[in-house]
């Protein structure tokens, strides 16, 4: 049973909703210094600058977050002058887009007491559903700059994300994407 409102999505008594007052998440601890720092300090600055919006995942009967997510608009772009003609010729595609609209998961953390219990995948599932349901604008992909560690990359691979490029293989984060058009509910 699910119910959808603008900026809120509920499923199986879990609610993903935009955080009205960012002061209410000051005690959130996911065990990662950078993520904690982001949610406790930077999230409000980013909101004022219209860069990101932060959401919390809560159990329907409780008032504290089990996971926090910050989202921003993004795009997957291709830049190659003759590519359009090449793709139309070789891939037999009538339409070619050099830019696809996307939503980026700018930050995502699960509270320490709730880790290892499918909360992360449940939140990702809800984000996927949120962005194919009653959208204001088109959104083809979910993107993420995932920390380049086995545990983080394996989590996103398990959730059907794929690497966008091989060029960031040795960087601190790796760009990954999920194609919302492939999702069937």
């Amino acid at each position: 049973m699910q119910q959808n409102e603008r900026n809120s999505f509920s499923k199986d008594n879990w609610i993903l909703t935009k955080i009205a007052d960012l002061d209410t998440i000051q005690n959130f601890d996911c065990g990662d210094h950078d993520l904690n720092e982001y949610f406790q300090h930077d999230a409000s600055i980013h909101r004022k600058e219209l860069l990101t919006e932060s959401y919390s995942l809560k159990e329907a009967t409780e008032d504290f977050p089990v996971a926090l997510i910050s989202l921003c608009n993004d795009a997957i772009r291709s830049d190659f002058p003759i590519l359009k003609e090449w793709v139309e010729l070789h891939l037999n595609r009538k339409k070619w887009y050099s830019s696809y609209p996307a939503v980026k998961i700018a930050r995502f953390g699960v509270g320490i007491p709730f880790q290892g219990k499918s909360i992360g995948s449940h939140a990702i599932n809800m984000i996927k559903e949120l962005f194919i349901t009653d959208n204001r604008t088109g959104c083809r992909f979910i993107t993420i700059d995932a920390y380049n560690t086995d545990s983080v990359l394996n989590f996103y691979k398990k959730n059907e994300f794929q690497f966008l490029s091989a060029k960031d293989k040795h960087k601190r984060t790796r760009s990954m994407f999920f194609d919302l058009k492939r999702l069937t509910l």
Binding site: N13, F64, F80, K117
Partner: protein, 55 residues
Amino acid sequence: MALPIGNTPILKGKEAVRFSEKIQKDLTKPTKLIPTPKIEEARRAVKEYATKREK
């Protein structure tokens, strides 16, 4: 300050072609939502945490 939000790279040349081919090909392989077998365990952890908070 936390680290800045990373830029999604602009795909060029062969990577752009590979991406275009891949997303086209992958449309023949639909995906479903990922199973979350421990989600009720998570709900119990939430309730336990809420009880501890109240004390």
